[in-house]
Amino acid sequence: MSIDKTEDLILNMGPQHPSMHGLFRMVVHLEGETVTEIDPKIGYLHRGIEKLAESRTYTQFIPYTDRLDYLASPHNNWAYVQTVEKLMGVEIPERAEYLRVIFGELSRIASHQVMIASTALDIAGWTAWSYAFRDRERILDMYEMTAGSRLTVNIMRIGGMSAEPPAEFWPALKSFLDDTPEMLEEYYGVFLGNEIAQGRLKNVGILSKELAQSLSITGPVLRGSGVQYDLRRAEPYSIYDRFDFDIPVRYGCDSYDRTMIRMDEIKESIKIIKQAVRDIPEGPIMAKVPKVIKPPVGEVYHRVENPKGELGFYIVSDGSTKPSRVRIRPGTFVNLQMLPIVAKGWKIQDVVAIFATLDAVLGEVDK
């Protein structure tokens, strides 16, 4: 009798594991260091937000959206309030639209900084991690000035914004925008330009264009696979049609390009914010909306380009003050499907890196 194949080692990674970004768990089948099969298990952070929505009024639900992708909370607010506004047919004031763009793009930068930092950390680049977090702190400070909180900011309301940024917000924003190119150079120098980091990321975890489209992958992961698809261009919501910016795309389809695309997007976000700051008009920040939000019977589906993928809200209204059904389509939840397919056959170290470049936030994946 000959032994052709030894037994696989089944390794349970997570939910408590240093590189599992929250409470993700995957059961990994290993042959030596090579991964033969991955079974992702999610739901450790499931709070039933969709069910909670059915017993909250439309306004009460806004803070819950902060807890989806908590690294880019203004963007989640935005997706939700825009969906309700679309359902009610509310037009919001110009200034509020511009403020939303500014906060939305700031949160995109913050989210991408966390992604760069955590990818660096997952391949043991400790120093790059603290550089990106140092800079993200300035964005959180700007949130704090305006909304009073730093992570789950709850800054948007149905019909506009909750607060006008204070006077010191604008100089802080300006100095942040001015410093960003230098920051990006630093990230590149300390992390992405490094020979070892490139060896870890380049040509690892190939997600082909066809596979990405079949898996309904969205966001930077998709654009890192050579598909130039961005909702801000493909289907401009809010006032994105007024700004001049590019949709960066990279054709490497590997972990490296999925990381670099974030650097490119930060540059584009800076462009958008600069234009928004230049054009922002004076005026009110809230539209006239009734005290009790009571949308007409109907249903609406709206999606926005969240930093990590497209976030969709499908709201069914029965005419009462509470929604009949709120369906959340989290981008990273759908993106996560690529992990078992793409990471198969790579080393366990590469799986960690591929998972990091997916930039999954378990708050959003688990809802």
Partner: protein, 163 residues
């Protein structure tokens, strides 16, 4: 606007074939069909001439009291066309064909709908609960699901029996 007219025309042609109804709510084109026609509908929608809806953006369950609906949000990689397909599923015996053969990305979304509504997707490669643990009882997003924790439910039951 031309795009939308064209899409509406295609959807109406398709609706004739699959016994569907076409609706328009808040500017969105909705095609309502019965569950057995779903694969035919989605396959046709994916390859509409000029306005293909080849991007499955979302798949969600919906509890309407007497029946379930599975809502497919279709759009395209190349154009602004958007189509919402709603497949009506029987509440007592919620079975529908899986869309994983058309889009691999339907995998997790269908598992979620199964987890939350108990809708069986025939032909799904790995239809297991995704958010809740495997031996969880009930389907949380159904309207008749009792949200009290199981301990509390047992407590209420005990009290009632005690009375």
């Amino acid at each position: 606007m031309e795009n939308k007219e064209l899409l509406k025309q295609r959807v109406e042609e398709l609706a004739g074939k699959v016994n569907g109804e076409v609706e328009e709510i808040l500017g969105a084109i909705i095609l309502k069909i019965q569950a057995p026609y779903i694969i035919e509908t989605l396959t046709a929608a994916k390859s509409f001439a000029d306005v293909p809806c080849d991007f499955l953006h979302d798949l969600a369950g919906l509890d309407l009291g007497d029946h379930f609906e599975v809502v497919y949000q279709l759009t395209s990689w190349n154009g602004p066309q958007r189509l919402r397909v709603k497949a009506s599923v029987d509440r007592e015996n919620p079975v529908i064909d899986s869309a994983t053969r058309i889009w691999q990305g339907a995998d997790f979304l269908e598992r979620e709908a199964f987890d939350m509504f108990g809708i069986q997707f025939k032909g799904h490669p790995n239809l297991k609960r995704i958010y809740m643990w495997d031996d969880f009882e009930g389907y949380p997003l159904r309207k008749d699901y009792v949200t009290e924790p199981i301990e509390l439910r047992n407590l209420v039951r005990q009290r009632k029996e005690g009375e």
